[in-house]
Symmetry: C2
Subunit: 187 residues, 2 copies
DNA sequence: ACCTGAACACCGTTCAAGT
DNA sequence: ACCTGAACACCGTTCAAGT
């Protein structure tokens, strides 16, 4: 069966987001690409932000699935692999990354659920790595937060050009992740 | 002497940014609060983005000054103090934080200079801490990037609600910074 | 050099009306 | 239940003109 109007709207919005950022997502163009009028979206979403939240939730759901794939690796490598995957996703889809972690004026339950799901999967990987002796002990949620914060910050700084780009101090997000795991292994 | 028109425009833009985010910074309101017409800003800035870049550069310049203050502490504590200061600034001024590290369609040399200045000050603090034996060795630029990425990511995740908020795994950005320094000290 | 007022194209949102 | 067309208020930007 062909996509429902709602799915078409979300798809068109994601497409426009990739092409030109959130302000390029005009309800008029979303409607046009979906074959409906420019205010048909209001029958499916409260406003433009709710439409963007649906795009973010869809993206986060896909991220959670790719975390499930990382879980099939041996536990001592799964977390690192997952983090490199996170970085690759963010660098390839910077506007989706910025959207997902942007500021929302009105909280979307759909988005919150997707975020919790992704984070709890990662906590599972970290716990397994701890049990395998590949990561130091302590509260797994807290260690997960540490690792995720580093990966997230490295990507965000890289995207905004605030990471040293040239010269001998050059480090990309993948390097920083490996550095962190090196320090954690020594502890 | 009273503020020039340019300074008034930047000040009004910063005020509006704090009140309602970037989209609340309308050139019409900026002009009104500065006592000029709604298109007078175009005589000082190429467009709205250039005005926002001036706000970001001003903010980053102030951040660099506050890093200078941290340098007066003993070297083994200066970096940690600076990072807690970074977190406090970001949590108190989330819209300025998001603006500074947002995506710019057109690069501003003013902003790039301010960013380099802030980062090189931090590298100086890290180098001093390494010499004092408070941080592990290795390339100071790269270690600086690691620490900054963690602080930045922790704040950004906290602002977007992607850090665990309740339950036993709860960690705020300050906790994560201390955790990182703990792991680094053990290495 | 700096500023103004009018104008243009565009956008989010609302509303009355249609099926 | 879902959609349309007209309309409203608003905004970034441009332009001709003023001092």
């Amino acid at each position: 069966m062909r996509p429902s109007t709602r799915e078409a709207l979300v798809g068109a919005a994601a497409e426009l987001l990739d092409e030109g950022g959130p302000e390029a997502v005009t309800l008029r163009e979303v409607g046009r690409r979906s074959g409906v009028s420019h205010n048909a979206p209001y029958k499916h979403f409260a406003d433009k932000e709710a439409l963007l939240a649906a795009v973010a939730a869809q993206e986060l759901g896909r991220r959670a699935s790719s975390l499930a794939a990382a879980a099939e690796q041996p536990p001592d490598e799964a977390v690192r692999t997952a983090m490199h995957g996170y970085v690759a996703w963010a660098l390839e889809n910077p506007r989706r990354f910025k959207l997902v972690y942007g500021t929302w004026r009105t909280g979307s339950p759909e988005l919150a659920t997707a975020a919790d799901s992704a984070r709890s999967r990662l906590v599972g990987l970290v716990t397994a790595a701890q049990n395998a002796g590949a990561l130091p002990g302590g509260d797994p949620e807290r260690l997960t937060a540490l690792i995720l914060a580093l990966a997230h910050g490295a990507v965000d700084l890289a995207l905004s050009g605030h990471l040293a780009r040239d010269g001998k101090g050059r480090a990309d997000p993948d390097d920083l992740i490996d550095d962190l795991f090196g320090h954690l292994a020594k502890g």
